[in-house]
């Protein structure tokens, strides 16, 4: 009997409610006190095709999905055929044997356990809609795992309206009863009761964590155009628009979004937009304008496979250099790349602070894997990051002589006054300008203004000395030092566990702030490392290039993956072992 550690894959056609089922199952397990990691996989279509959601449930922290699956919940035959090879020996398949005929040999030679539950007949006899077949399947899965059905019922009640919840509860019970009556004790996996149920831990996606960070930061203006993988963020913000007394607007395109956001920021609202690579291409000109006009905007770039439209619903880390260099000319900006949902929350709040304090665009770099995966995290500490708006005058009447929006100062930071303030003319300009924001083309002013804007980086870099721009996980002294950024953090930490069991000591240097690049910190870590390897979800190892550029140091090896899928920990551990 394998207790309290399982990976469940729920699969079926698009439109069958796969993601929702996975989420519900994960949340039920979370309520039971487990650590849950959920990741979805779907193509760029709405009906048909194949979707699946993997839920990994552990008594201890689960940083990512695993390599294998213990139980497949198959809503169609395709799911079984596609995922049978991922099942461990002794793994189970819950399916509707009345609808799916498995020919001899189709499963291969492994000792898989088949649990047929007549989803469709059950739903028909209930007089319910086909869509609740997935809930019948969930109920059956919970019975196989020896769980109390009530944990799912509570989640169903919390998620759906009363009527829909009741239908789903009945469906779950029917599936549960069928599996219990026919298969009790036949599956070697079980989820038991844990001593500490939950502790208020939350089940949150990267997108939602960014959204909550934005709300907490006081973001009052959000404009976006739908685009995977950050469409979920638009939905999240829109659903909270009224409760948080903010403006959420879906504009005609990404150019409109970022220009609106810049206008709102100029007027004094904390403002954000989010997009993916293609949409960010359209935003690039305005990103430069935000730099030039010293407008504090926050841009979320959720990466997906490129180039061009690439794999629209799959993950990648191919836009790091793009984010750092996007737009013509030279201007200061920040790029931060959270590695999990917790960092998504805190770094988003900080992004707004940095944007206003240094009056520059700040980019939050996520990706499909981070944005849409579900993480189990401790409740966010809402007091951890204080709101800091920098040198911002918020009175009604400006005191003093003529206000100059782009005053040349030693720090490079010009005091900010908002339009609508008495005795102040607040003028800015996408063209090079003088202190008053009037167009200026003479060489002295051009040089002074460029120097002024770039001086802000000095102050920013000084402040960043007090931040964890680079995070380290694992032992101080290690045989192998992994360097990475963003969402690869989860699979890397899982891989480190595997390697540790095998006696290979590895640690991780996670570069959280990529621009300005924390060259000194990285140099220190690399100097004391025995052997270094960069892990990235891209083909050209952009981080290794940055390290070389900023530290004149080469890493010893690179492990790269660019097939649209995140690293699985076992696979990654294998690759790391090869280079160690």
């Amino acid at each position: 009997m394998k207790l309290n550690s399982i990976s469940v894959l729920i699969g079926g056609e698009a439109g069958a409610g796969i993601s929702r089922s996975g989420y519900l199952f994960g949340k039920a397990c979370l309520r039971g006190g487990f650590h849950v990691f959920g990741a979805n996989d779907y193509g760029s279509l709405i009906r048909g095709g194949h979707n699946f959601f993997v839920v990994r449930v552990e008594a201890d922290e689960a940083y990512s999905q695993g390599d294998t699956v213990d139980l497949v919940v198959a809503l169609n035959k395709d799911t079984i055929l596609r995922h049978r090879t991922e099942l461990v020996p002794g793994g189970g398949i819950v399916y509707d044997g009345e609808q799916v005929r498995l020919e001899e040999g189709e499963l291969g030679g492994s000792d898989l356990k088949l649990f047929s539950v007549p989803f469709r007949s059950i739903v028909k006899s209930m007089g319910a809609q086909e869509i609740v077949e997935n809930t019948v399947a969930l109920g059956a899965a919970l019975a196989l795992l020896g769980c109390d059905l009530e944990i799912l019922n509570v989640v169903l009640r919390d998620t759906f309206s009363e009527k829909v919840a009741e239908t789903n509860i009945r469906a779950a019970k029917a599936g549960y009863d069928h599996a219990k009556a026919n298969y009790e004790g036949q599956f070697q996996y079980a989820l038991g009761k844990l001593p500490s149920p939950g502790n208020g831990r939350i089940f949150v996606s990267g997108n939602e964590a960014v959204g909550m960070g934005a709300l907490k930061a006081g973001c009052r203006f959000y404009a976006a155009y739908p685009m995977t993988p950050v469409t979920g963020l638009l939905h999240f913000m829109a659903s909270n628009e009224r409760d948080y007394k903010m403006i959420v607007l879906q504009a005609e395109n990404e150019i409109a979004c970022i220009n609106m956001v810049t206008g709102a920021a100029f007027a004094g609202a904390r403002a954000m937009t989010a997009t993916s690579g293609g949409g960010f291409c359209l935003m690039v000109e305005c990103l430069g304008m935000a730099g030039m006009t010293e407008s504090p905007i926050v841009v979320v770039l959720g990466q997906r496979s490129g180039p061009s439209t690439g794999l629209p619903t799959y993950t990648a880390q191919g836009d790091l250099r793009f984010a750092m260099h996007a737009s013509q000319g030279e201007f200061p900006r920040m790029v931060v790349a959270p590695g999990d949902a917790e960092e998504c929350f805190y770094e988003t709040i900080r992004a707004f602070n940095f944007a206003e304090k240094y009056q520059m665009p700040v980019m939050i770099l996520t990706d499909k894997y981070l944005a849409e995966s579900q993480y189990t995290v401790e409740p966010f500490d809402v007091d951890l990051v204080k709101i800091e708006r920098g040198d911002l005058f918020q009175g009604r009447e400006y005191q003093g002589s003529e206000y100059k929006r782009h005053l040349l100062t030693e720090s490079g930071i010009s005091p900010r006054v908002l339009p609508g303030t008495g005795n102040a003319v607040v003028r800015t300009n996408a063209d090079e300008h003088d202190e008053r924001g009037l167009t200026a083309e003479d060489p002295q002013m051009t040089t002074s203004m460029m120097d002024k804007r770039l001086r802000k980086l000095k102050a920013l870099k000084e402040e960043l000395q007090t931040f964890e721009t680079v995070k380290v996980y694992g032992p101080k002294r290690a045989d192998l030092t992994i360097v990475s950024w963003g969402s690869t953090k989860g699979p890397i930490r899982e891989a480190m566990r595997i390697l540790e069991k095998e006696g290979l000591k590895a640690n991780l240097i996670q570069v959280l702030y990529l621009c300005p690049f924390p060259a000194e910190q990285i140099t220190q870590y690399l100097k004391s490392a025995k052997k270094t390897v960069v892990v990235e979800n891209n083909a050209t190892s952009q981080l290794a290039g940055l390290i070389r550029q900023h530290t004149l140091m080469d890493v010893d090896a690179k492990v790269l993956k660019y097939d649209g899928r995140p690293f699985d920990p076992g696979f990654l551990a294998g690759r790391l072992r090869e280079v160690a």
Binding site: G218, A256, M260, A269, P419, V425
Partner: protein
């Protein structure tokens, strides 16, 4: 209250002598004086082109933005702080070429902003190329053999995009233009004002004389600006007689009127105490 003197800036004017922009600049300043809105509560936004320099020459809050993006930029400012009067200046290249996609959406959104288009039917700042409002056959450096497509009709498009205020002015009649600007800014909703503004350097066709011979005032011709079908008819009029004045005007709730939950401008609001507790609870 603001005076003409207070609206002056030290910036040197770099438009060609005889440019239609001079009349537009004066008409706008006079409109501001006439409106009497406290100076700090007005923001002007401009795009790129000869018109874009307007921001340098009026001493009020201003944002000289990118080419073609006047409407979204002005919209963001207005959305964040509806207490500001926001006036956008754009050109035919800026608004009807580079930023064309924003016009219909801006109109149907109906924010309470004004967009004044310096329509000289030619690219001026890039030294003379054909634009979307250049007439078919117009010869320029980019179309030496004559422009092939037909010209766009922005006013007709505005009317079919649910515009609530559509007008056309002529830089050669400053007093009339001033009156249109005042009406446009006073109008609650998106106001589009297309202004014939002859480019004396690059447009040999649509000259001061061209317009003086043709324009007539709608209000003198008994036009009823509440009649949408008639307005569309007038928008289609082009030839020996070309109408100027207010084509159409309609009262409709603005975008912001429907954002009833906001309870005041989001800009400048206290943001220190946001409770995300309920959201976290829903995720447990």
């Amino acid at each position: 209250m603001v005076t003409m003197e207070e609206l002056k800036t030290p910036a040197e004017i770099t438009w060609c002598p005889g440019c239609g922009n001079f009349g537009m600049l004066t008409a706008f300043k006079k409109a501001l004086v006439e409106l009497g809105i406290p100076r700090e509560n007005v923001v002007m936004v401009s795009g790129i082109g000869c018109h874009g320099k307007m921001v340098n020459h009026v001493n009020i809050n201003g944002f000289h933005g990118l080419h073609g993006r006047v409407i979204p930029l002005a919209s963001g400012i207005k959305l964040a702080n509806p207490e500001l009067t926001v006036v956008g200046f754009s050109g035919d290249g800026d608004c009807y070429e580079e930023g064309w996609e924003h016009l219909s959406h801006g109109l149907r959104r109906n924010l309470d902003i004004t967009v004044i288009v310096h329509d000289n039917m030619v690219f001026g700042l890039t030294t003379g190329q054909t634009t979307a409002t250049s007439q078919k056959g117009f010869k320029s450096k980019s179309t030496p053999f004559g422009a092939i497509p037909l010209q766009l009709n922005p006013l007709a498009v505005a009317l079919t995009s649910h515009a609530t205020f559509v007008a056309r002015g002529f830089a050669g009649d400053m007093a009339h233009l001033q009156r249109i600007m005042v009406e446009a800014i006073r109008h609650r909703g998106f106001s589009l004002v297309d202004v014939f503004q002859p480019c004396v350097t690059f447009n040999y066709l649509n000259t001061w004389d061209f317009y003086r011979k043709r324009v007539y005032k709608l209000e003198e011709a008994g036009h009823d600006p509440t009649d949408w079908a008639k307005a569309l008819e007038k928008a289609m009029e082009w030839g020996d007689r070309i109408p100027i004045g207010i084509l159409y005007k309609e009262e409709r709730p603005t975008y912001q009127d429907e954002l009833v939950h906001l309870g005041g401008p989001v800009a400048g609001r206290e943001i220190g105490e946001v409770d995300i507790g309920p959201l976290m609870k829903a995720m447990t």
